[in-house]
Each structure stands twice: as C-alpha cells, then as structure tokens.
C-alpha cells in the first residue's frame, strides 16, 4: 500500500504557502497576545519571568485553536474530503493534515519563542526549555484540535464549538508545558520529567488522535 501522507502534506503546505495569511495571522495573534498582557499587568523586569511559562503557553494554545476550524471544513465544503475518505489510508491522510497544521501554526511560533522568552527576561536553559516544550507540546495541540475540527464540520457554529471541545482537552498539555518552563526557572532538576511527560503525550496523541479524527470525519461527512 502506498503512502497517502506525502500527497496530502504537499497539497496542504502548497495551499498554505499560496494563502500565507493563515500563517501570518496565527503567528501575529501569538505575538500580540504575549506582548499585550505584560503591558496590561504593568509588571516589572524582575517579575516577568514568573509570568512567561503560563502566558506563552496560553497564547500558543489560543493561536493553535484560531486556525483549527479550517482544518477539515474547507475540504468538506469543496467535496475533497470525499476523496480523502475513500483513499487507501484515511489514518495517513489525517496524520498528514495534522502535520501540515502544525508546520503552519505550531512550528512558526515555536521558532519565534526564544525571542519572546528574551523579552520576558528568560535566559540560557530557560529559553531552550521553552523552545523544546513548545516543540514537543504544540503538535499535541494540533492532534487534539483535529478531533474537535473533525467533529464539527458542517455545523453552523462549528468554529466556536471547536474551542469548547478542544480547550478542556488541552489542559494537561498546557499544565506540563508551562510546568517544564517554570521548573527551568525554579528547580532545573525537574525539567526533564516534564519534558518526558510531554513526549509521552505526543506519542499517544500521534497514535490515537488520527484514529479518532478519521472516525469523526466518517460520521460528520455523512
């Protein structure tokens, strides 16, 4: 059986490249949120690092959700979801779509996170922990988000419903992601524990989320 990952990934990345506003909006949203909150809280330079883990992770979560409604809704509307569902491996198609979503939304904000970290007065190992926690954690957000996106295709209020479904499910990722960064500030010995827990979540999500998403797509595309 040939792979369906490559064609779907290539197509989605090409579409994202041609319509690059998607990438820019997610990234800008992330930057604006992390830049605005310290201003509104009127924090000093010394207290900023304390805020960084939670804020960056919340911003990453919201930014990931922002573009989720388009993950399957467009394919559903133009009929190309039918093509994906009758291909040889729906699992691989879904995995490719999740990968494309992460490459377009999760990866850019992960890449820019060290700069954000510097602005929050983090340094050295704290910056690398922030980077790695987002690198491992944001794909989990895309995986869980895909389930919500698949469940809500064809619904009129789909995009707001996705947030309601996905936000609570993402709590564990956010808790361990921000805990890893906090540990790098307070107790560097515990950083590895949190990062390994995040990695475990990623592995579980990569195996099971596409299955759940494929099942949800088959039901929603009825």
């Amino acid at each position: 059986m040939s792979s369906t990952i490559f064609p779907v990934l290539k197509r989605d990345l090409l579409l994202a490249y041609r319509n690059s506003t998607d990438i820019v909006i997610s990234l800008f949203f992330f930057i604006v949120v992390v830049a605005l909150i310290p201003i509104s809280l009127n924090e000093t330079e010394s207290t900023l690092p304390r805020l960084a883990p939670g804020l960056v992770w919340i911003a990453a979560l919201l930014s990931s959700i922002l573009s989720l409604h388009r993950l399957f809704a467009e394919d559903h509307a133009d009929g190309s979801l039918d093509l994906l569902l009758s291909s040889s491996s729906v699992y691989q198609c879904v995995l490719a779509k999740i990968a494309a979503h992460w490459l377009v939304t999760g990866l850019p904000l992960t890449l820019i996170s060290p700069v954000i970290g510097l602005a929050y007065n983090l340094h050295g190992e704290q910056l690398s922990t922030l980077f790695i926690s987002l690198l491992v954690g944001t794909p989990v957000l895309s995986c869980i988000g895909a389930i919500g996106a698949a469940m809500t295709i064809g619904l009129r209020s789909g995009s707001s419903l996705i947030a309601l479904i996905v936000l609570p499910l993402n709590i564990p990722v956010m808790v361990y992601g921000s805990a890893a960064v906090r540990a790098s500030i307070n107790s560097p010995d515990n950083v590895m524990t949190y990062l390994l827990l995040l990695t475990a979540m990623l592995i579980i999500a990569l195996v099971f989320a596409p299955l759940a998403t494929a099942a949800a797509l088959k039901i929603s595309n009825d």
């Binding site: 059986m1 040939s2 369906t4 490559f6 064609p7 779907v8 290539k10 197509r11 090409l14 579409l15 041609r18 319509n19 509307a77 133009d78 009929g79 190309s80 039918d82 093509l83 994906l84 569902l85 009758s86 291909s87 040889s88 729906v90 198609c93 088959k218 595309n221 009825d222």
Partner: protein, 210 residues
Amino acid sequence: MSNQLSIQGLQCERGEHILFSDLSFTVKSGKVCFVKGSNGSGKTTLLRTIAGYTQPYAGKINWNDQAATLANPSYTQSCRYVGHQNGLKQGLSARENLEFFQQLYALEKTTDNFTSVLKKLDIENKSQLPVRNLSQGQQRKVALARLLLGSSDLWILDEPFTSLDQTSRAIIEDLMQQHLDQQGAILLVTHEPLMKISSEQINVIELGHE
C-alpha cells in the same frame, strides 16, 4: 472482466424521514443505471450510500460479491465518484488537482496522462491557472477529468452535466460511451436525457414512487 454492483433491500433515511426502502437493483458492466426521481426523492443519498460515504439504514450493497464499503480497497480503487461538489482545491491549478488525485490513489503514471486527459475535455490551455479562475463549467470538467485517470470500473456520477454547455456535454457522453465499451459500468443521476447512449444500455431506476 465482468463486474457487478448489486443492491439488495436498501433503505435510506434522512433525519426521521424514510427516503426509500426495499430498493434492489444491479449495475452490470457495459450498462448505465439511470436513477430518476423528483427533488428530495433521495437520489444523491442513494449515490453517496453506494459510494460508501453514508451508511444505509438497512440492506446490502455488494461489489462482485464483496461488501461495497470504504473499507474494501478493491471497491474504492474500482469506483470513481463525482458528486455535487467538484472536490477541487481552488488555490491549485487543474493540473495540480489532478496530480494530487493521482498521487493520493497511487494511480499508474503514463507520460502525458494529464495533457491527454485535459485535451480530451478541451481545457488543456487552462491547465496552469488556479481553479478559482476557471468558470463553473470548466471546473466541472476538471472534476470529471478524474474519471479518466488510471483505470476504473464503476463511475458514480451525480448531475455530471451541471454547468456544462452542449459541446462539453457531448464530450462527456462520448467518454461515458467509451467507458461502457470498455466494459465499465455507470450509475448516473441527471435531470437531462442522455442523447448519445443507446437505450439498450440504459436501465432506469425510479425513486419516490412508493
């Protein structure tokens, strides 16, 4: 090889409403099964059920004595469905859309596959443009071009002539005739009569007469 799609005792529902029940017929190689019926009689649901996208409430659909579902690769590979929506990505060109389809289904490649297919449908000169710049009729032809990629035995066509002019319609009917001559089968929903295909090759199924 002679193929057969057999439908036995099929019942489909939309919400609480029964669209049709106890529907049985067969579609054989070299024949068109022409589904007729008024609006809302369940033609599209029937086609989507047979293509595997919708679950029937009751009844069996078999392709060469095997269950015709999306989980059956021999069925999904032999069957091509073109529904109401064209299944095209507006941001990609006609050629890129077809290329994606070919890769997704791992269809065999020949050198000038796309060019010859697009030439047959008279849209070759527009093949590099994004699909959103094509007219509705041209987009429909790109969607129908998928039927000609690789080999397929069963075409399931939902209103294939929508937005097509007389010339394009004739081209599509010619292609359908060629498919029948090569022992292909067609399941068709359209409100327009077929001009070129002989009536001996057409079986009519009427929906909504219960």
